[in-house]
Structures are given as structure tokens and as C-alpha cells.
Point group: C2
């Protein structure tokens, strides 16, 4: 993660925004493997030393960009019931993570930090969003599974197949996973791809 | 994957074995990030050009080593019933994948190939082992889930938590996942970590 907090509107925030934007632009232009810190610095209009001082090295920067990119920027939609809310969230999660950019960000998040803190942060983002949806459902009086169960039966299968078995995967798979995860006492056969 | 098939006992097989062993030894001695092709070649007793000619570059070699390392070398044990067979397999899978070496190999397999073929191969290894266990159970007359359901509800949660949420994970989680996946018509609440 970034070594400084980015105060919105401050110079730190502007540097982070410009460096992150430069990484995203250059990744699509020249490819992930061709990126260098001087190249990113030039595009971002900062000195390489600014990047080294703040991020340490390219891999830490890439991991930081990935985690920032994977951070949800809005609360889950409230569509009035648990199945609708969780289905909408899972479809959006699938679309974002299964995109070429999403897959690349997941890879960088997994690789950028040997201690796994960035991967853990990505998972925490998903758990926080699910918490919001399940708490809302409980407040409505709906029977909701717990967050870890949704992680096991919705998030984990989606991420596993995106990373390891992407063939033929689409949003209908996300919908089937949600339907099973929120079925009363989880009866019925599990979804299959 | 290796650009040549390794004929058991042939020079190709000996080169692959010595290079793979050198990668494993040096990874534990100097760490993954310090590895270089000349260093690996010296340890393996081959020329760097032998490695470049066969593997292309270090990342492809590391991905190849990872896939080879993750390949099961024995058929799943036949303990006489589905729950015992799948539990034993899942516990072994968890132990191997959750180990520091296992996590590193998974990372390399995911990173080494932009087209995802190596990650797909790792998943195919798991699916093949599960197929053997489920076919055996069906032949015994047991009611067995299909392979994709076991991928969704046993393999995917294990891999997801190993990669993203490892805190507090142990083999009892693998046992709970199996118990739910093979429960008649999957009744009962899902396991949680």
C-alpha cells in the first residue's frame, strides 16, 4: 500500500492519481511487462525518485495500483431484497474481476506483496460490501447467510474460475451461485458452471 | 510448459530434473526474487543457453516448475467410501497448497502465462483427481456430486482462502467443505472458516 495517505485534493493525492493513471495508460499502451519507473514518472510528470520514495519499487507500485483499482467506490445498491442486492453485486463483481484489466489487477495484487496484505485487502473489500448487503437484509427481517458463507459459495467460486478455469464463464454463473447461497438453509444442489 | 517433452531417462528429462531441482534449491536459499538464469544454469550444471532455448525466459521456467511441482504424482487413495476418499484428498490438497512453497508455486503458475494455460493445467490436475474419486464412488453405488460442484464448493473456497484470506485456516476447514459438498442433496448450512 502507499507509504503516505493521500489527502483528497492535496499534492499527495494528485501525485497518486497521476502516477496511477500513468500506470493504467502505459499498461494498455506498452503492456505490463514493458513498464519501468522512469517511463511511469515521465508520463505522470513526476521524478522517478518521487515514485521510489513513495512506493519503494515497481512491483509495490503495481500492487498498490491494483488494490486501489479494486477498491469499490460506491456502496452496494439497495434494490429492496437480499437476492436482488446480492445478485446485482455479484454480477458487477464478476464483470469487473473477469475483465482483462480485472484479471491483471488481481495478479498484481497477489504478486505485489509477499506477506499477502494486499490480497487480503482485496478480499476485505468484497467482505465489506457483502456485510452491508447482509446487514441490510437482516434489518428487513430477511433470513441471510453469514458473510463467510457468501465468501465461500459466491466470491470464492467466482474468483477461482476467473483465475483458473475461465472458459465459458459468464454472469449467469454468478446468479446461480447467489441463488444457492441465499436459498433457505442452503437446500438444493449447488450451481455448476 | 516445457518446450520439449521429457522422455524418462533421456537427457531431456535429466536436464529438466536438474534445472527444476536447481530452481527449488535456489528459491529456498536466496529467495524467488534473487533468481537469475545464469545462477540456475550454474547450479544445474547446464549452460544458460540451454535454459533460454528450452524455456524462453525465467518467468516461463518458473511457471513450468510450478506446474510440474503441482502435478499430483499418485492417484487418490481408495479408502472405501466417498467421504473418506474426498476428505483425504482435500486435506492433502490443502496441506500442499497452503504451504509456503505451495503458495509460491500457485503464484508462479498464475503469473508465468498470460494466456492462463498453466493455471488451467493446475486446475485440471485437481479436476482429474476429483473425477477419479467421484467415478469410484459412483461405481460403488454411492450418490456423488459432479466434479464441477466439488470444484465450486471444496477446491475454490480452499484456493481462495489460501490466496486471499489465509488467517486461521487449517485442515478442519477442508473437512467441513467436503462434508457439505457430499451431503445428500447438499442440505444444511455451508461451512465457514
Amino acid at each position: 500500500m502507499s507509504r503516505q495517505m493521500a489527502r483528497p485534493g492535496g499534492r499527495s493525492a494528485r501525485v497518486q492519481a497521476s502516477v496511477h493513471a500513468a500506470v493504467r495508460e502505459l499498461t494498455s499502451e506498452v503492456g505490463r511487462d514493458a513498464l519501468t519507473v522512469p517511463m511511469i514518472a515521465q508520463r505522470a510528470g513526476v521524478t522517478p525518485s518521487t515514485i521510489y520514495r513513495r512506493w519503494g519499487d515497481l512491483q509495490e507500485l503495481m500492487s498498490d495500483v491494483a488494490v486501489e483499482r479494486l477498491r469499490p467506490d460506491t456502496a452496494p445498491k439497495d434494490l429492496g431484497d437480499l437476492v436482488s442486492d446480492l445478485t446485482a453485486w455479484a454480477e458487477q463483481f464478476f464483470d469487473e474481476m473477469a475483465s482483462p484489466a480485472g484479471r491483471a489487477y488481481i495478479r498484481d495484487a497477489l504478486l505485489g506483496d509477499p506477506d499477502g496484505s494486499n490480497a487480503g485487502q482485496c478480499s476485505a473489500y468484497a467482505a465489506e460490501q457483502i456485510d452491508v448487503i447482509l446487514t441490510r437484509a437482516t434489518e428487513r427481517g430477511e433470513n441471510a447467510p453469514d458473510t463467510e458463507a457468501v465468501i465461500d459459495h459466491v466470491v470464492a467460486p467466482l474468483m477461482y474460475r476467473i483465475l483458473f478455469r475461465p472458459d465459458g464463464l459468464d454472469a449467469s454463473y454468478a446468479r446461480r451461485l447467489v441463488a444457492t447461497a441465499v436459498a433457505p438453509s442452503h437446500k438444493g444442489p449447488p450451481p455448476t458452471a
